[in-house]
């Protein structure tokens, strides 16, 4: 096997994208604060992305969330430069993707990134195996190695036995498994997933999310995941950035966004979220009690409230204590606080529900 490369972080800096015939002409106006509507009405250019700054964690999953038209798909295409920016930088490690010449870019795409697409974008005239090896074939690797490496991932995503089927013969979920296997076979440190699971029905989507999370535990790639679904974002994302009309409205961990929505727009999203699966025990634990006061079951830091509530009710205990990885007590938890934090507050002004 090829050595696993350490996955680099990705920094997007002051990234702007204007669509139209003369984007360079209007970039200064936009930097001075011209809005998307104004630019479109007065000059017939569309502002795709405005001053995007995101630091994506190395070896973690960065989710970019937004509704359609928010520019999220445009943003992910800047990372492997399927779209050229109007201004700004995309730093992968310490290399600026936007400064690469065509040859460097081709090398970068071959070895550093792999992408999964919303509409799968499989080659319809190729079998599952021939689709999966595509990235390696382009790199000029010998066929026997191509097949060997592809087979591993075909097995891993659960497509064993379908190697010689054509994409048209597979269901949507299976086609996207091929898309995933194709990307993983490339063994690139960066995995770009553009609404990869959005076209799948809910059960299969959950299933694919599980596949991704399981894989990520072993492969530790820098994953950029685009979605319009907040539940998906919260389930997958180590970090989440929310995009609206080409601007980042808020970024941070899922818990941070759910508990402190930056504005009305985001709080309207998070209102529907199952907080029990997002908020962690350490956020609501009471640290004022004596740290030797170990009441009830021990719950590890990083546990969600839903799980904590289950542990406590199973143990028929109204109190629990939170411990770190070494077993040291950090604070205490009572069932009332747990339940009230799981209930959705009325407004975002009042993030953690009042007693």
């Amino acid at each position: 096997m090829v050595d696993e490369k350490a996955s680099p972080g990705i920094s997007v800096r002051n990234l702007y994208k204007i669509f139209g015939n003369n984007p360079d002409q209007y970039i200064d106006l936009v930097k001075q604060g011209m809005t998307k509507t104004e630019l479109n009405d007065k000059h017939g250019h569309v502002l795709g992305l405005k001053d995007i700054n995101i630091d994506m964690p190395a070896g973690g999953i960065q989710v970019v969330m937004g509704l359609s038209g928010s520019g999220k798909s445009t943003l992910i295409r800047h990372i492997n430069r399927l779209i050229d920016p109007t201004a700004g930088e995309v730093l992968v490690g310490d290399v600026d993707v936007c400064q690469m010449n065509p040859a460097q870019l081709q090398e970068f795409r071959r070895h550093e990134t792999a992408m999964v697409f919303q509409k799968f974008a499989l080659l319809p005239h190729r079998t599952v195996m021939d689709n999966t090896v595509y990235g390696l074939e382009v790199q000029g690797i010998s066929r026997s190695e191509q097949v060997e490496r592809a087979q591993r991932w075909i097995d891993r995503v659960g497509l064993t036995g379908f190697e010689s089927n054509y994409p048209n013969q597979l269901s949507g979920g299976m086609q996207q498994r091929v898309g995933l296997a194709r990307a993983l076979t490339n063994d690139a440190p960066i995995l770009l997933m553009d609404e990869a699971f959005s076209a799948l029905d809910p059960l299969i989507r959950m299933d694919m999310q599980t596949v991704l999370l399981d894989l990520q535990k072993e492969i530790k790639k820098t994953v950029v995941f685009i979605t319009h679904d907040l539940d998906e974002a919260l389930r997958l994302g180590d970090k989440i950035a929310i995009l609206r009309d080409g601007e980042v409205v808020q970024q941070g961990t899922g818990q941070h966004i759910v508990l402190n929505p930056a504005d009305e727009y985001i709080s309207s999203f998070v209102r529907e979220v199952n907080r029990g699966r997002v908020v962690l025990v350490q956020t609501i634990m009471d640290t004022s009690v004596g740290l030797e006061n170990r009441e009830g079951p021990a719950i590890k830091i990083g546990t969600t409230l839903e799980k904590a509530a289950k542990i406590m009710t199973d143990g028929n205990s109204s109190m629990a204590h939170v411990v770190d990885a070494q077993g040291k007590m950090l604070g205490s938890l009572d069932i009332q606080a747990v339940i009230s934090s799981m209930v959705t507050p009325i407004s975002h002004d009042d993030p953690v529900a009042a007693e």
Partner: protein, 295 residues
Amino acid sequence: MEWLYEFPNMDIDSLRALKKGIDSGFRGFTREYGVYIENAFEPLKQFLIYSEKFMLETPWPLIILLIAGIAWFASRNRRIVIGTIVTLLLIGYFDMWEDTMRTISMIFVCTVLSIVIGIPIGIAMSRSDRLQSVVNPILDVMQTMPSFVYLIPVVMLLGIGKVPGLIAVVIYAIPPIIRLTNLGIRLVDKDVLEAADAFGSSSWQRLKNVQMPLALPTMMAGINQTIMMALAMVVVASMIGVRGLGQPVLQAINNQYFSLGLFNGLAIVGIAIIFDRTSQAYGKRLQKYQEVVHG
């Protein structure tokens, strides 16, 4: 008010002078470069002669086997193969074997030449909108200009014979393959192309792995059209000395031999149907991967 009824045309003398100028200019060009151009077409002529010799000198059962074999390879359809064999036997029985072989040889060379020239032009057109806007009107002219008109300069340059016939046929028959190659490549799904780019395909890999295979069914439709149009030109080409099924038809027109015209005409129809069904079936087989759709 006379000018309303009489179009204010160029005066006769200058018009005559203009035509004369063009004619003598072209004649001069012919005298100057005719030899070189003829020499340049020499390899093509050899190809034509070789191909015709092959068709005529191979024993007829072998030819029937060969054509039936090609039909089977391309279509995998028993009915098409049987139809092919019966048609060829009938043609032979009615004493049109030699002419038919000459025509098939001519069509074969014309099709190969059209493919060799047409596909690269089609690919280039698909990559550049500017080239497309230049080539398209030229193709329009090639398809609508009465073929007799461009026969004149071709005959002036190259005389009468196989090569000018070949050129006339190719000019008439090449537009569909160019147009449909261009169209086929342009119609390739953008998502799939984006995926090919995302994995770092070079532009050659993109063409070879994605664009060509996905455009192939459309290109096959173009090749089918090209073959049909080449066959349609057989009679016209016979006017400038191309031998084959066209010549008896021409003779029949001149002498009002109804049955001679009919038999040879039917022979042309027969081989047209063979070529058409075979190449269409092949085009369809190329799309087999699209047939089985998940429920």
